[in-house]
């Protein structure tokens, strides 16, 4: 499992093993995320990429312990955040980890910020709760954080309300809030999807600086492969709740392996070259209830064969540098495999 073991257990900022999340749909529990494993090193950006309903956000919510009770549950697996196993923690103790060791930002900051409180207070609040700072100390720290995320005239804007900020500035406020207690891990769920491209570039640039300078491990969830290519070191592609491919970003974009990864790239119009031959993926993502057993992608896959009825393992290929979940490819690329690597 080399793609998941770059960071040893102690060094990993976030470690996820065999995470399986189930959702209750029409009274039936169904696995919406199956057996996801990865480790995130400090100062590393790991991108989780896929289309609507692939389970990427659900994975993040599970890691954050934010599954809605009675509707979603962690059915199997371990989650270790900065050395603390959170998957077995009671909600009260998880509350300490959340905000303290792990922060999260979302696509639409307006839904996460309180519209009737000044942003300075909202950034200061976790510092008072988690770090025991006085109100004055916390406000001073909030000002520093707003400067850190490059909000102009931070001192004056402490008293501003969320609606007085533009979309990009609001996302900066969210980032300041999420990193207030210096967490080891930041989960960024489509952080720039609602922003204009120039503002998107600025926010991603800021995330990159924080990741490098503060050794923040970033789990970047996005549907945009362009954002992945320029902002992540490693990538995991999800489809129908399964990780279908994981690789270093360089290897992945040089030669995507899984049929779904290849289809996704071939379907993407590019600004840097003419794309007269867009290749749509036939059909659409099946709903959770319609997902086939075995390989999840088989209903849309050009390589489909009988063996796909059985769920393929995430198989190491290219000398274990990367992993792919596809029986056909695993067989074709078998020459690359060290024998013991198939476990």
């Amino acid at each position: 499992m080399s793609a998941v073991s770059k960071a040893s257990d102690a060094a990993a900022a976030l470690r996820v093993e065999g995470l399986t999340t189930s959702l209750k749909i029409d009274g039936v529990w169904r696995d919406a995320v199956r057996d996801v494993s990865f480790a995130l090193a400090p100062g590393e950006t790991l991108a989780l990429v896929g289309e609507s309903g692939c389970g990427k956000s659900l994975t993040a919510m599970t890691v954050m312990g934010l599954l809605p009770k009675g509707v979603g549950r962690l059915s199997a697996g371990r989650i270790v955040i900065d050395g603390v196993e959170t998957s077995t923690l009671a909600e009260r103790d998880f509350g300490k980890v959340r905000g303290d060791s792990i922060g999260m930002i979302f696509q639409e900051p307006m839904t996460s910020l309180n519209p009737v409180l000044p942003v300075g207070f909202q950034i200061a609040e976790p510092l008072m709760q988690h770090r025991g700072l006085s109100r004055r100390q916390a406000m001073e720290r909030a000002r520093e954080l707003m400067e850190l995320v490059r909000i102009p005239a931070a001192a004056e804007r402490l008293k501003s309300y969320p609606h007085q900020f533009s979309g990009g500035m609001r996302q900066r406020v969210m980032i300041a809030l999420a990193i207030a207690c210096s967490p080891k891990v930041l989960i960024a769920d489509e952080p720039t999807t609602a922003l204009d491209v120039t503002v998107q570039a600025q926010v991603l640039d800021l995330l990159g600086v924080l990741q490098r300078e503060r050794g923040l491990g970033v789990l970047l969830i996005t549907h945009n492969l362009g954002v992945v290519a320029t902002n992540a070191q490693r990538v995991m592609v999800m489809y129908g709740g399964d990780v279908v491919e994981s690789a270093d970003v360089g290897d992945f974009f040089a030669k995507p392996l899984h049929p779904y990864s290849r289809a996704l790239l071939a379907a993407m119009p590019r600004v840097d070259r003419p794309t007269s031959d867009l290749a749509p993926i036939p059909g659409q993502v099946p709903t959770l209830a319609e997902l086939p057993d075995g390989c999840r992608f088989q209903s849309r896959c050009p390589l489909r064969e009988e063996a796909c009825a059985v769920r393929p393992p995430l198989t190491p290929v290219e000398g274990g540098r990367r992993h792919v979940r596809c029986v056909v490819l695993a067989r074709e690329l078998a020459g690359d495999l060290p024998r013991e690597g198939t476990a």
Partner: protein, 319 residues
């Protein structure tokens, strides 16, 4: 040219402020001109608030512009009397980003698609039904879609319904306002392919508003770039994105992510965010953020001038 838009301007007046609101002017369009021919797609790109949607709506006369001229197939849209305007609108249809919000959730798809045929007196009853079924087939939907409700469809299928509705009256021109922005990549490609086919087969003209330069590059032969209510660059799409002339087009192009880690990560060549159209800067609107800005840019708005065959740019320093 099928559609010729000349010097369109529109200022909205807003009440702003609390507790004593004041009236402020928003110059959404400030002398915008463009044209589009049959079987051609014109891309309109720019960031939020640049006026790209307003331009499309004003050309359709869904909002009344303050100034300018819109000629459609030789007829003046802005001075057309109601009956003539209705006849013109039949030939100019619109497709929105979110097809769900443009549908009545309680109206079955077939009935929704037959409605414009009845309104325009084109067809009723069985004739209309046959025509709608043919269009459903053309946009890749099953016949069974006719008796179903919009919520029963996925996002991609709903956009197909939106396109079918636009096609029902056999228009010559379609205004598409971010038609694939809400869709996943794999579905987006399906819809783009459908639009490609329609453009060829029906010789349709498109005014295609989008913030996604990749999508525009794929679909549009020509493109105009807008910034704060003005067109700052126009020309063949490939040329504009491969060799942008206006500093803002360059920034837009470099900030657009490309799925290739070998492409050096775009240094953020721009500070700040687009200024508010409420109080745009004098002279060239872009000068406060422009690396090339000099004194003339702060006082004089540059005209959109020809710099190469088919290419125009509004910049004092572009060559």
């Amino acid at each position: 040219m099928l559609l010729d838009v000349v010097d369109l301007a529109k200022t909205f007046t807003l009440r702003q402020g609390w507790p004593v609101p004041t009236l402020v002017d928003v110059r959404a369009l400030d002398g915008v001109s463009f044209s589009v021919d049959r079987s051609e797609a014109l891309g309109v790109v720019g960031e939020s608030g640049c006026g790209k949607s307003t331009a499309a709506r004003a050309a359709l006369r869904l909002i009344e512009p303050d100034r300018g001229r819109v000629m459609f197939d030789g007829r003046d849209v802005l001075t057309a009397k109601p009956a003539e305007l209705r006849a013109l609108r039949r030939r100019m249809q619109i497709v929105f980003q979110d097809p769900a919000s443009a549908r009545d959730p309680r109206q079955r798809v077939g009935s929704a698609l037959m409605e414009p045929l009845a309104v325009h007196g084109v067809a009723r009853g069985d004739v209309a039904r046959k025509r709608v079924l043919a269009i459903l087939d053309e946009v890749g939907l099953p016949k069974t879609a006719f008796d179903r409700f919009p919520h029963e469809f996925s996002g991609g299928q709903r956009q197909r319904i939106g396109i079918a509705r636009a096609l029902a009256l056999e228009p010559d021109l379609i205004f598409a306002d971010e038609p694939v922005s809400a869709l996943d990549v794999s579905v987006q490609a399906q819809i783009l392919r459908l639009l490609d086919e329609l453009k060829q087969r029906r010789r349709l003209a498109f005014v295609f508003v989008s913030h996604d330069l990749g999508v525009v590059r794929h679909f549009c032969e020509r493109t105009v770039v807008m910034y704060l209510g003005r067109i700052i660059e126009s020309g063949p799409t490939g040329q504009i994105f491969d060799a942008p002339k206006h500093p803002y087009t360059k920034v837009l192009r470099e900030a657009s992510p490309v799925p290739d880690p070998a492409v050096a990560k775009a240094k953020v060549a721009i500070e700040g965010e687009p200024p508010s159209p409420v109080a745009p800067p004098p002279g060239c609107h872009f000068h406060p953020r422009c690396p090339l800005a000099t004194d003339i840019c702060r006082t004089q708005a540059p005209a959109l001038r020809d710099i190469a065959p088919g290419r125009r740019v509004a910049c004092h320093h572009a060559s």
